[in-house]
C-alpha cells in the first residue's frame, strides 16, 4: 500500500457533515467568527494539491520529548508520563509519510505556558508544552509527554476542557492541512465539552479519542496512548492507474 511515488490527484471533497460547522453558538466565540455565506467549492488546482515539505533535518533531538525538551538541570516535567503514538493515514488507508506533526498542550495542572493563560494552577518550570515530529515512510509517529490536566475556560459559567493535546498536521497538499485535538479515552469531560460537541457524530468524536494501549507501554516508565489521524484522500491520476493498477 505504501508508495513513495509523487501523488498529484485531486482531493476528495471535505465531508461537512462529519466536520464541525462554522457556526456553533454553544461555543460562544464561534458566533462572530463563522462565515455566514456558503463556501465557494473549488476543484483542486495545483495550488491545493501541492504543499510545503519539511525535512527531518529541522528536528532537534528532543523535539519529540516534551518531558525533557524544556527541562533544566537533568530534571523532567511533572505529571503522568505517557507515549502518544499512531499513524497518519489518508482516507484511502494509505500511510502519509513525511507529515509534520506539531503538538501543544497544558501542563499536568491544566496551565499553558502562555502570557494569556491566567489560570491559577502553577506553571511547571520544566515543561514548555510544545513538540514536533515527522512521520516515517509508513506514516508512523510517536512522541513522549505528560498527560495534560483539564482546565476551566470562559464560555458557559462552568465549562471545563477535557484533557487534550492540540495537533497540527501537514500532509502532502495544502488542502490536507488540519488542526485538531486529541482526547483521552474514558474522560467524562469529553461529552460535556462545547468544543468537542461542535462535532455532531459520536463516531467522529471517537476518532479524536486516543485509546489506552497497554501493549506499547514502556514498563516502569510510561503508559501509551494510540492515536491515528486521517487526512483527506486524493484520487488516483490516470498515470497512477497505469503504473499501479489500483
Amino acid at each position: 500500500m505504501t508508495s513513495n511515488k509523487v501523488e498529484q490527484g485531486a482531493f476528495y471533497p471535505r465531508d461537512h457533515e462529519w466536520q464541525p460547522k462554522a457556526y456553533t453558538p454553544w461555543y460562544r466565540t464561534s458566533i462572530l467568527r463563522s462565515p455566514q455565506k456558503p463556501l465557494l467549492r473549488l476543484d483542486s488546482t495545483i495550488s491545493e494539491i501541492t504543499g510545503p515539505v519539511f525535512g527531518h533535518n529541522i528536528l532537534g533531538q528532543l523535539d519529540d520529548d516534551l518531558t525533557l525538551n524544556y527541562a533544566k538541570n537533568g530534571e523532567s516535567a511533572l505529571g503522568e508520563r505517557i507515549v502518544v503514538h499512531g499513524r497518519v493515514l489518508d482516507e484511502r488507508g494509505k500511510g502519509v509519510s513525511n507529515a509534520l506533526i506539531e503538538v501543544w498542550q497544558a501542563n499536568a495542572g491544566g496551565r499553558y505556558r502562555h502570557k494569556k493563560d491566567a489560570y491559577l494552577a502553577p506553571l511547571d518550570p520544566n515543561f514548555g508544552g510544545c513538540g514536533r515530529t515527522i512521520t516515517d515512510v509508513d506514516g508512523y509517529y510517536a512522541f513522549r509527554t505528560i498527560k495534560p490536566g483539564p482546565y476551566p475556560w470562559p464560555n458557559g459559567v462552568n465549562d471545563w476542557r477535557p484533557a487534550h493535546i492540540h495537533f497540527s498536521l501537514f500532509g502532502a497538499g495544502f488542502a490536507q492541512r488540519l488542526i485538531t485535538q486529541m482526547y483521552f479515552e474514558g474522560d467524562p469531560h469529553i461529552g460535556l465539552c462545547p468544543i468537542v460537541n461542535t462535532i455532531k457524530d459520536d463516531a467522529a468524536i471517537d476518532q479524536l479519542t486516543a485509546k489506552l494501549d497497554m501493549n506499547n507501554t514502556i514498563p516502569m516508565d510510561a503508559r501509551a496512548y494510540r492515536f491515528d489521524i486521517v487526512l483527506r484522500g486524493r484520487r488516483s491520476t490516470k498515470f497512477d492507474n497505469r503504473l499501479e493498477g489500483n
Binding site: V6, P35, L40, I46, G233
Partner: protein, 203 residues
Amino acid sequence: MHELDPLKESPSQTAGPYVHIGCMPNSIGNHGIFEEDLGARMVNEDTKGERITVRGRIYDGTGTALKDAMIEIWQADSNGLFNSPSDTRGEADPNFAGWGRQPVEPETGEFVFETIKPASVPAPRGRTQAPHISFWIVARGINVGLNTRMYFPEEEAANAADPVLGSIEHRSRVATLIANREGSTYTFDIHIQGENETVFLDI
C-alpha cells in the same frame, strides 16, 4: 473500480487561543525548544523575484480585528512553480519555500508577510490562474481552518480570466479577494462576517 474508501478525515477542532505555543513558540517568548519558528522567514538574499510585503487584518462580525489568529500562506515562485514534490513541471527556486506562517500582532491584529510576487500557474483544462497567494486562517472560535486567496490588483486581465474568480456568482464579492496596492505593499483585509464577508473557499 475502486474499493469503497474505508476512512473518514479526522474532524477538525479549533486551534484555540494558544496555537502559538506549538506553532510559533519563539513569537511569544517561549525560547529554547525550537531554534526558529517555522515559516517566519520566506525570502533570503538569493530568492528570485519581486519583493513584496503583504499585510492586513482579520475582522470578526463586529468589525473587531482578531488578536489571536495564525495565518499560513502558500504560493508559487516567480516562475509559477511550487516548491513541492507534487509539482513535477520543473524545479522551483531553491531559495523560496513558498510557505509562510505568521501570528497576527497581539495588540493591533496586523499580520505581515515579506515574500515575492508569484507568477501565474496553470488551471485544469488548459486554463491559467492569475497570480495569487493561498491563505489558511485558524484561531479561537474557528472550528475548521478558513481558506481563501489573495489576488493582485494590477493583474486586471489575468484576474478577469481566472477560473476561481470567474466562478464567484455574486460579482460584487470578487473584490473581497483582491488586495489594495501601495508601491510594493499589498493590504489584504479579511472579513469573516458581515457586509464585506470575504469569499472563503472549500478547497
